[in-house]
Symmetry: C2
Subunit: 132 residues, 2 copies
Amino acid sequence: MSARTDDALAAEWHRLMGRYQRLMCVLDRELGAEHGLSASEFEVLQQLEQAEECSLRMSVLADGVHLSQSALSRLVTRLERDGLIERKSCSQDRRSLFVALTDAGRTRYADARPTQRRVLREEGSDCLEQPA
Amino acid sequence: MSARTDDALAAEWHRLMGRYQRLMCVLDRELGAEHGLSASEFEVLQQLEQAEECSLRMSVLADGVHLSQSALSRLVTRLERDGLIERKSCSQDRRSLFVALTDAGRTRYADARPTQRRVLREEGSDCLEQPA
DNA sequence: ATGCATAAGATGCGCAAGCAAATAATGCAG
DNA sequence: CTGCATTATTTGCTTGCGCATCTTATGCAT
């Protein structure tokens, strides 16, 4: 019994890997070619766009995009260098930082979003089931 | 309508990313710590174990593990260096290579498999639905 | 036979990821 | 106030990935 369950889990994991890798790969390529963004960078912009006042603390953002803190730190550095977001220090706790979308960031997100949605429609129709 | 569908797809994609990253991260850590294998290396050993005569062509293997051809080439180099697999040239088409499990590779897979299954059970119970 | 398009793998390159250690700011115990 | 554990973020290091390109092998057309 346990063996059968385990093998079913392994098979499901294998399918999950396949769906993820395929979509991620295409998203990275298309978003990169058309808008100069990686899929992770797009996710960050999206999280910020949806957040109150378009700003979030680093650690919250790291959770939201499923990235390690160090990876997020560097990703934010890149987006800041490109002028799409800003680090804003937090007066209440000087250890924390808020990350906020700039106007350029909002624009870039608005431009890139249709591309992302299109890829999800084209490549994800057979990969992404309806939400449970 | 299209907008709602697109947003649902985006939300589903976000969940897929989360499930994948979480599982992949834990698998890499545990398999690495306990058996010196990455999750991708484990997948390669598993594909070979399940294959006829425990050998597959590189390109077939690359598909099976959802990896680029170059990534697989290097992965195979590492596994070969560790003595877990062998490259065997194909007499019918000298461009092709077969990759085969060694005895050490079979043993390593047998050792690592319970770890992988345990992680899938512990971390994946809420991530991996039953197969459709 | 010769040439050329194609296929399978390997390799140079740059990039982004995770872990672990470093830095900096808090806050609490004495 | 001083020291120490804790929290938030950054940075050094190593590793693995994908893309583009190179090399070798096929095989078909002439």
